[in-house]
Point group: C2
């Protein structure tokens, strides 16, 4: 979100009661992809812990909506990225939200294992002054 | 976070016990700013609700660390943005985390009023299929 008035153009209020049964939006063309990408914040559906931050392109979002398994766009590899493909640590998506400016997404997920390559539940396992505060949930050497 | 091995270069483990007393990091030069900006996820410190998504430049991060009031960089206005300057809806920062790749921040905050210009507690008040599910906490016409 930026400090501008909100656009509030994406989605359709007519579908308010279908969140559970109809996961796929009628139209997400109103979402603002910047250079083909939209930021995605990923939050544990139960603990509410923020797990990671990534980007999606339209294909990743479509695949996520169709399969309910989180897909992203890897900017470092420049390729579609099914989270958990290597590690088995998939993310089952419970819900997707978009923000007032329609330029950021929030996914709530059921995370298998941990979200972080370093073996932590969340990628945000360190405070700004260097304290390691996150929960280590697997040994990354066994997985990657 | 991207699907690469994590850098884990920012911060200093020597300071692990100073999170509460010494909020300012010894060095955040290891943080990866892209075109001068780093994404910042903002989460309510109590409810764990994700409130908004914004960007910081180095100055915004320094001001946030120094004042414990969240500052961002408004890309739309191309200027420093002290959140709440117009609305009074400031964010008192409790903690700042950085992710494994050191290219994203997570702030936990005490939010005065609501984070969203549209009067909602969180900017993520709609699901992808258009359902409005967020909590309206103020009338934006009274504030802006």
């Amino acid at each position: 979100m930026q400090n501008s008035k909100c656009g509030c153009t994406a989605g359709s209020k007519a579908e308010t009661s279908k969140a559970e049964t109809s996961f796929h939006p009628a139209d997400f063309s109103a979402l603002k992809f910047e250079n083909g990408l939209i930021p995605a914040i990923v939050q544990d559906a139960d603990s509410k812990e923020v797990l990671m931050f990534a980007f999606m392109n339209e294909e990743a979002l479509k695949l996520t909506l169709d399969t309910k398994i989180a897909h992203y766009w890897s900017r470092s590899r420049q390729s579609l990225w099914k989270k958990g493909e290597t590690s088995g640590h998939f993310q089952r998506v419970e819900q997707i939200y978009f923000d007032c400016d329609a330029d950021a997404l929030l996914l709530t997920v059921k995370q298998t294992g941990g979200a972080c390559h370093n073996g932590y539940k969340s990628c945000f396992y360190r405070t700004i002054d260097g304290a390691v505060v996150g929960e280590k949930v697997f040994d990354e050497k066994d997985v990657y």
